[in-house]
């Protein structure tokens, strides 16, 4: 089987996963398509370096790289505001509409939440949290896989997940209150 045929067989099937991640990174259809296209070309170039291993995680790491390159070029502020600075900024925004402390998060979770609101809240999340939530909850990747893809320790993945969920829940509360 030629290199090209092997690539089509093992990497092309993960196009949906690639697109989903790129779409959540760029938050835009056309840009996500460009990122995926670029990532696939890069993946093909390095394909010989993939010996066995999980093609999906390998591809997603390349997509993430291409996505970040794209963000750095087109929306540098989003990438610069990583981690704590971003968390603080997001929190500051949340604080503006602080929910009463007695609000029970379960109430939100147990009812079927409006998908549109979840989408909006997730898009509002700083990219470092958004990406781990997408990889964990939509892509079902393990902590270990996410750590490898994002190039951070597992502990960081776990803390970003926890922090991301907390921020997401609060952003969602605001949106739900606005909607009702």
């Amino acid at each position: 089987m030629t290199l090209h045929a092997r690539f089509e067989k093992s990497v092309l099937p993960h196009l949906d996963a690639a697109y989903n991640l790129a779409r959540w990174l760029t938050r835009n259809d056309q840009d996500a398509q460009d990122v995926v296209q670029e990532a696939y070309l890069r993946a093909f170039r390095y394909f010989e370096g993939l010996r066995g291993g999980d093609a999906r995680a390998w591809l997603l790491a390349i997509v993430r790289n291409a996505g970040y390159t794209w963000l750095q070029k087109n929306r540098p502020a989003e990438v610069l505001a990583l981690d704590d600075a971003a968390a603080v900024a997001a929190e500051a925004e949340v604080a503006g509409h602080a929910a009463p402390p007695e609000t029970n998060p379960e109430v939100i979770v147990l009812q079927s939440v409006n998908r549109k609101l979840v989408n909006q809240a997730l898009e509002d999340l700083p990219v470092a949290y958004r990406e781990v939530l997408v990889m964990r909850e939509l892509e079902d990747l393990s902590y270990k896989e996410i750590a490898a893809i994002a190039g951070v320790p597992i502990g960081t993945v776990m803390s970003r997940l926890a922090r991301g969920r907390e921020l997401l829940r609060r952003l969602l509360e605001i949106r739900m209150r606005k909607a009702s």
Binding site: T2, L3, H4, F7, E8, L12, L15, D16, A18, Y19, N20, R23, W24, D29, A32, Q33, V36, Q37, Y40, L41, F44, R45, P105, E106, I108, V109, S112, V113, R115, V118, N119, L122, L133, V134, R136, E137, L138, D140, L141, S142, Y143, L161, A162, G164, R165, L168, R169, L172
Partner: protein, 213 residues
């Protein structure tokens, strides 16, 4: 689906949209990968050749440095400059200051940059298309360098005035694996340098002299 790890927090993001790739993207990606696969097959050889060339150049230069004569003759110094200039010209972006196969573009470019006017002729008909020209520094003086292509090779022709010298037939020498063919024509000294063999360099010399007459 992968096994769930024990996330002790509710998965809210789970309710977000899973964006599936549009069909046109699938087609686009497949097409561009297929194109890359076709590309890949062709330039592999090219890259190997370029890489080998680069290694050869580095090896040649270090070999030269290792064997550097304590008291080199003037001729050998010029040859060293010629090879060094040739090797440097092959590094990316160094081949020409004025890139053109049009002699009427290249020749005027030298005006005001040198105190002589080198003969510039496109020799594509003889198998040596002109690639461009640049200034170089050989034997302690600024000289004109004309870059020609010959098959996969680059030939640099260095030109400077040799007032009072009679015309000479091309003479070949090898230095560090590079062919150097030198001749004098119409009061100008010519040195053609390349990794091609001496024979095509001599052919270029003849073609250049014919065009100059």
């Amino acid at each position: 689906m992968a096994t769930r790890e024990d996330d002790d927090e509710p998965m809210i993001a789970r309710d977000a949209t899973y964006h599936r790739a549009p069909e046109e993207l699938r087609a686009r990606v497949r097409a561009s990968v297929a194109a890359a696969a076709r590309e890949e097959r062709r330039p592999a050889l090219w890259r190997a050749v370029a890489l080998a060339g680069a290694f050869a150049a580095v090896a040649a230069v270090s070999w030269n440095l290792a064997l550097l004569d304590a008291a080199p003759s003037a001729e050998s110094l010029v040859e060293r400059d010629l090879v060094a200039a040739h090797v440097r010209s092959l590094m990316p972006g160094h081949l020409e200051d004025v890139a053109s196969s049009d002699q009427h573009t290249v020749k005027p470019w030298f005006a005001g940059k040198l105190d002589f006017s080198p003969p510039v002729h496109d020799l594509a008909a003889a198998g040596f298309p002109l690639a461009g020209g640049r200034l170089d520094y050989v034997g302690g003086r600024p000289v004109a360098a004309l870059a020609y292509r010959y098959r996969l090779h680059v030939i640099n022709v260095f030109v400077w005035p040799a007032p009072g010298s009679p015309d000479t037939a091309p003479r070949a020498a090898i230095r560090q694996g590079y062919s150097i063919v030198r001749w004098v024509h119409g009061g100008m000294a010519f040195h053609a340098v390349s990794d091609a063999e001496a024979a095509p360099l001599a052919a270029l010399a003849e073609a250049l002299d014919r065009a100059a007459d």
